[in-house]
Amino acid sequence: MNEQAKVPFFTRGVMTLTVIAVAGIAVLAARFVFGIGAVTNLDDQYPWGIWIGIDVASGVALAAGGFTTAFIAHILHRERFHSIVRPALLTAMLGYTFVALGVFIDLGRYYNIWHVLMPWYWQGNSALFEVGVCVLMYLTVLYIEFLPIVVERFKGRVNWRGGMARFNGATEKVLNVLDATLNRVMSFFIIAGVVLSCAHQSSLGTLMVIAPSKLHPLWHTSVLPLQFLLSAFAVGLAMVIFESYLASRSLKHPFDLDVLAPLGRMIPFLLTLYFAAKLIDMVSRGTYTYLAEPSLQSISWLVEVVVGVVVPAFILMTHRLRRNQTWLFSAAAMIVGGVALNRINVFVIGYKPLYAEQPYVPAWSEVLVTAGFIAILVLLYRFFVLNLPVLDHEGDAHHA
Amino acid sequence: MPRTIVISLALILAIAPMSTLASSPVEDPHGTWRPEPAACNQCHACEKPSPEDPCLVACPRHGGHFYGEHVVDEGPDIVIIDQLADLYEPVVFAHRLHAGMANMTGGCENCHHYSEESGTIPPCRSCHDADKQAVDLRMPALKGAYHRQCINCHLDWAHENACGFCHEQANGGGVGDVDTTDIVGIPHPLIEATDQYNYETSYTEGPTVSFHHTDHVEEFGLQCVDCHRGDSCKSCHDTGAHEVRKLDHVVTCGACHAERNCAFCHSVEPRDRFEHNARVGWSLEPYHETLDCRTCHGEPQQFRTPTGKCADCHIHWETGSFNHRSVGLALNEEHAELDCEDCHADRAFQHPPTCEACHDEPLYPEQLPGEKVSRR
């Protein structure tokens, strides 16, 4: 249907990712047979490890591109950016799917996850309840937002084979109905997606506010939800640039600098807000004193802020560098890494339990699961862009 | 008519409360016991206790409600503690053994913190309820009361929590399994002490201190607790490899020998036991031997040296009241009629008189004023 179809699915990189994915799945199998203790280094002091810190917390942040681009393109009606909405939406959909999976495998009693949806179990004081419900609702919203892409791909081309052939007519009818109705209701879901994202991106920060004696003072603050929300805005856009670049290299697809450079221009503004929220909080609480003592935490904080916020902000503020796709990509990558590191800092590195005898270091099997998830995510992304009208789509089904 | 009714009603109303007062006088919550007026706060936590809110403090233990003198033998030999037997067999408590040990420290009050005014010591369970639920939060139930008594001392020297020291784990056999005869009625065994201890000290002028333990007890009449103050079971029974107990010699020896210089105790070579004649050149033979040191020297803290004049002590020695045979000389008739001072000028009995004081020729030793007899 388009030129991406000519790119073969299997390459050397894909084979490597497949190996990692299979290894990750093998470890996961062990987790479900022998328990969480068998494959992780978690203990009573460190109940959460990289599955929460990377798969979930960083995953949610990096999937923020879905709602930020939707806001720019659909709510502010910046038509220029419509072309990046679908890749961002795909990233968000896959990202959130794996966030949900990440939570699922980390749950000791994963089979009880439906309790979160049952009102008689609801516990509204819990930030995690709010995150959980919002993530589940947003995931549904993302699937609905993604439906038009599937409809567009198959409408008029339904061709079940064999015994399923008799359903061809019915499927076609369903697709037609969907096509007609989705267009009309999509605005609601787009707005809902933004609202839900704002809610749970910030609540993800509220999660660790409950542990003032354990989370390092460099990160523990009552404005952690605000910092999480602001950094999500920035990293959502950076992620779009980051993955567009990688996709263009991998799929021999042009990198649209005329869209992505203006996008990159918005980021310094968001980063400044985020940086201000961090800095004002730091000064008001006097926590800069912790930076004077060299520790894993102080170094990690500096890397997160200098490499992840300050440097890329300056790069993106410079017109010449912003118009250079290598610089643009590098800045985006730094923001992605910086915000991901922030989430890891808050959930893992900055978490100092009261009675730990040695710090938590993830087990190789834990790392393999996380790496496996990322590998599967990349493979799925590749599969979808090769088979659905995601990348080469100008404009959008929805015109409000 | 109505007026009389009103008046009589008023009278009834007025008298009724008075009559109730008269019929039931306020009972003294203390009963017959009369506590020290200044000692209210030993039992009451608040300023003004009332029968409704006596605000009693946790335990009469701290008030020292213990009366009467008791001796080791009057208590029971053994006590079988079986009110709580559940996970463990009943405890065979060698009461007399412990009473003997307590005698060396604080006496019966060590454990029995309360007795009736008559001196009767009630059993623990009469106040401490065996059922933990039923009691006042302030007072331990029977289990806590027992264990706090035992464990606090036992831990001082045992250094481990071996419940098995007192308890046999329950096997359903009951007390019958325990041979109680081997401990019945044994007070604390006599403490074996060496007669003489030679301590090496860091005092270079006289590194050796010879301490004659038996003499201090038998000759000088000291009680154990005179020196062994504040000792507890663990002072002797410590099972751990703790440092050797160091007596503070200033406090312990100095209690009696405060006036003495260092050389009184410290010497280069070990010293022999104290012998009055050898040390001061004054034999105690035979009559003074039996005396307590204090008779002549007073209390050790105010040690005094007698003048050596017999009459200082023997103020009643007069003719007729003194049997001269007791010094080994039965006076003959002529001399027996003399007054004491006639021979013993100035009643200086410590110096034997000389014949020349009365007789011109020296008669001694050919002639004596009497006949030599054995003393005594």
Partner: protein
């Protein structure tokens, strides 16, 4: 334009439905649990009386059907050489500390769930698996639990443990104050019942507080004038007396409010009556409707 009208109609209807649903969520949010009974229970634990005999550990493990050895096995004091924490098979442990001034006997402290008055774990639990019983105990319902372990992150005393090696039905493990037994009048928690020294007193929390202060007043010199748990983290059902600063006994210095206060005020501040999200929804809808199309030529571009 018709699509826009329809959009507004649909959005309005959907928003209405959301408000209705939100009311339900809000009711769940307001559920800080029923108010605490004035006669709720607690335990006063006097560390100066503890002799470290570990009988409470045996009583706890045996009554909770956890692996435990023979009673006599607990005579062994070698585990006391190391600092221990409660874990999935030992819900309470005794730790040994240096002797008090002028004493030979080592000092001991018992560690277990303190049963906060305003528990962070209960506030953190997203499915009400942990609950504060108005009568005092903080209880756990494994049937409701999803196993997220947020309670372990939230607990300011680092108490809940997890059965990491149980693949299928792992539980959060912590002291329940024997709630399933003590609901019957006159029944004490097993550790309290077992303690030979009666170092623990079980009763009404308010009376225990009075008793604790009374002991401090009656025995000057024996206690530090501090009842741990009277105010820490908003108060706890367990109250402790000791001869020294509690930080030396690994009980953290804590503010007077529960850590849950802040997160709950944040949550309720943002989501009060679900008004925040609904207002945001309305605001975005207005922006979406009013913001005009920005054709490419009008788009402020990257060049200056």
């Amino acid at each position: 334009m018709s699509s826009r009208r329809e959009f507004l109609k649909f959005t309005g209807a959907a928003a209405g439905g959301a408000v209705a649903a939100a009311a339900g969520v809000d009711a769940a949010m307001a559920s800080t649990g029923p108010p605490l009974d004035p006669d709720r229970v607690g335990v006063l634990c006097d560390f100066t009386l503890c002799v470290g005999c570990r009988r409470c550990e045996w009583a706890c493990s045996s009554s909770n059907e956890l692996p435990h050895g023979d009673l006599a096995d607990y005579d062994d004091t070698t585990p006391l050489a190391n600092m221990r924490r409660p874990d999935a098979t030992n819900l309470t442990v005794i730790n040994r500390y240096p002797a008090s001034q002028g004493q030979v006997k080592p000092f001991h402290a018992k560690v277990n769930c303190l049963h906060c008055e305003h528990p962070a774990c209960v506030s953190a639990c997203l499915v009400q698996a942990l609950k504060k019983d108005p009568h005092g105990p903080v209880t756990y319902d494994a049937g409701a639990c999803v196993g997220c372990r947020y309670c372990m992150t939230a607990c300011p005393f680092q108490i809940p443990a997890y059965e990491y090696d149980n693949a299928f039905t792992p539980r959060v493990m912590k002291c329940s104050l024997c709630a399933e037994r003590t609901s019957e009048a006159g029944v004490m928690p097993e550790c309290v019942k077992m303690c030979p020294q009666e170092a623990m007193v079980y009763g009404r929390r308010d009376q225990l507080l009075d008793l604790a202060h009374e002991r401090i007043a009656t025995h000057p010199g024996r206690y530090l004038d501090h009842v741990y748990g009277a105010r820490e983290c908003g108060g706890t059902s367990w109250l402790y007396l000791a001869d020294r600063d509690f930080t030396e006994l690994d009980l953290p210095d804590m503010p007077d409010v529960s850590p849950a206060e802040l997160t709950e005020s944040l949550q309720h501040g943002i989501f009060k009556g679900f008004s925040g999200p609904i207002m945001l929804f309305g605001l975005i809808a207005v922006i979406m409707k009013s913001a005009g199309l920005r054709p490419d030529d009008r788009l402020e571009d990257d060049d200056e």
